[in-house]
Amino acid sequence: MNHRIRVAATVVAVGALMASMTACSSGSSDESAPLKFVLSGDATQGGGYQKMADKYFEETGTKVEIVDVPGDDLTTRLRNSAQADDLPNIAAAANVDPLWKDQLLDLTSIAKDANVLPTLTVEDPADNKVKALPSSLTSVGMFINKDLWDKAGVSYPTDASQSWTWDEFVAKAKQVQSGAGAQYGLTMDASAHRLRSFLYEFGSQGVVQDGDDFTLDDQAKTALEYFKTMNDDGFMPKSVWTAGDDASATFKSGQVAAYYSGVWQVADFQANITDFAWASVPTPQQPVKATNYGAASWIVGFSGRGKDDATTKFISWLYQPENYTAYCEIAGCLPSVSGLNVSYPKNAESFAMYNAEIAASPAVSAVQTTDQLRQGYEGKSLDVEPLKDETIKYLSGEQSIDQTIDAITAATKAALG
């Protein structure tokens, strides 16, 4: 008898517990509830928005809750939220997703008032409205291990007005390799973003749409062959591209002369490189001076969450010059609006270098993120990166250069055509 009562009591208790847990799950359209801002921040970027949210609360009394999710899972999270009708109010998304592209607020007037860079202002072709604002500017660039270069006595350009070709860069970095005993001359993130920049520097236009087909020009072929040579002859650590090794870790080891990465590393290097001096140098050109720049992520506001006005107000506040300047200084990033005077507490010369390189870059350098955004508006999304995937196969000797180029264009067509 006794145990039966005990069992019954347990069942009731568990039931009550479950009921109480569901009770605290819902309730998003509540007036006093904070604005929810989903993003994937590094220590700096996420921290930057958290500080802005605190500041906004002080000034207006409106609470903004920062929801930090892992970078790799941001897209999944937003898609699932959309399916569950639980989208946040604001998100810093990698791209506009076909699944929730119809639930976006119109940010056209904010873009205009804030002077968002024209190259990064993308209208939805369907209704000519701007629905996503670039959170900040990211750009590809070259870092060197200053100590190694100085030790080997090899000179390098220090100012954006100076330049060097890839041939010159490779020759000099090889001198550093032998002169200072560095293990490698160069390391480069295994990323399509960095690879595109590399192609642009060889005069390529990247993968371009030609009617129904996609093509890759001869300059790209030259660049990829050049890349394979660097990867094969011990100049770059092979493990990074073919085995997924972390390029930034290899550079931080102090054993690599140069690192082809981007502006977002500056904040990390400030904190996590302590035993050698590093510097930003102009990216080599062969012969085109180019980088690959674009939006770090896209700030979007979601409509129909019962807080359209409050959301627009916050985004508008975020892009006011003094607030946006403060954000860039805290997060250590480049502004995506023109006419700002950002004074960085450290490594201002690095940021100046990036700004100069962006200014000197051809139009193609700006298209990656804006193209993707446009495709997102049109309901297409490139969930794979054929340029990177096929290049890896090429580097590991699985296919020839011509097969690689065919595979890249074919896979792009399959995803976007």
């Binding site: 145990h3 970078g71 981007g262």
Partner: protein, 298 residues
């Protein structure tokens, strides 16, 4: 059982009859040198990465990737721990994870025991079909049924609540199967005897069968707790509010889109391991035996 007793009594007889004790001991030592050394080598191999991980959490961010790598931190610092503690609301996330892990484990053990018992001891055609269905679930990886499960949880209104994480993980086919296999070994005569003594079906289950199945219960409880503690993908898609995050999700948020603050991540991972280590210390005996069942999965 019978053979065991036989062989042990034979062993005793042999021991009594021949060789002096000392010689036998030295032989035993000689014989055990090789396996013991091998075990030590294995233990060191296993412990090395873990130790490296622990020691690295006391290194500063600038020291993690320096060449040559050093095993011991050149400069001991708890800066990573301080920042991790500041950045992550450990109390909340530990709380959430413990709620999820304990409730799921308790329910898992209970329901798997009842299901396993029914499948082992009651005869009905539809029961064997059901058993087959449950068993075939072990062949599906959890990821395959992720989307349908998500839809069900969402339509039940459990999206973004801990119960949404708990509910789908309660019935694990592995658990049911473990109990079924165990209850089959319990002789039916025991049940018949209890029935003749006038015991009801429920009291047979609670008073006789459950106590008999205690080792299985503990094994499943330990495994299930570990599974739920380390669960990642399902909580990730079900929980959207950081207040409801489990520890693993919170830890993953430390991995940024372009770079990772390793110092914080290392420290936070060490902190997240502490409860499981404590659990291990308490239930050491049972965990060792539950690990014999390796290869099990939820």
């Amino acid at each position: 059982m019978a053979t065991e007793t036989m062989s042990s009594s034979m062993g005793a007889r042999i021991r009594r009859s021949s060789r002096p004790v000392t010689r036998k001991k030295s032989g035993e030592i000689r014989r055990s040198i090789l396996p013991t050394t091998m075990l030590w080598v294995l233990a060191v191999l296993m412990a090395f990465p873990l130790l490296w991980f622990l020691l690295s959490s006391f290194k500063g961010g600038g020291e993690l990737f320096t060449y040559p790598l050093s095993f011991l931190p050149r400069e001991w610092t708890i800066d990573g721990y301080a920042r991790a503690w500041e950045r992550i609301d450990f109390v909340r996330y530990f709380g959430n994870t413990i709620v999820v892990a304990t409730i799921t484990t308790a329910l898992t053990v209970f329901f798997c025991a009842t299901a396993g018992y029914a499948l082992a001891k009651y005869r009905a055609p539809w029961l064997s079909v059901l058993a087959l269905c449950i068993l075939s679930m072990t062949m599906l990886p959890g990821e395959v049924i992720l989307n349908p499960t998500f839809s069900v949880v969402r339509d039940l209104g459990f999206y973004n609540s801990l119960i949404g994480v708990i509910l789908p993980s309660i019935l694990t086919p592995t658990g049911v199967f473990m109990f079924r296999q165990f209850f089959i070994t319990v002789p039916d005569e025991l049940l018949d005897a209890a029935r003749m003594d006038g015991a009801k079906e429920l009291s047979i289950f609670f008073r006789i069968m459950l106590p008999l199945a205690r080792p299985i219960m503990l094994t499943l409880a330990i495994i299930s707790f570990q599974w739920r503690w380390n669960d990642y993908i399902f909580p990730l898609i079900i929980l959207s509010d950081p207040k409801n995050f489990t520890l693993q999700i919170a830890l993953r948020t430390l991995i940024g889109s372009e770079n990772i603050d390793w110092a914080i991540l290392l420290a936070a991972s060490v902190i997240s391991m502490i409860p499981l280590v404590l659990l291990y210390l308490v239930f050491q005996k049972y965990i060792t035996s539950s690990d014999i069942n390796t290869g099990l999965r939820d």
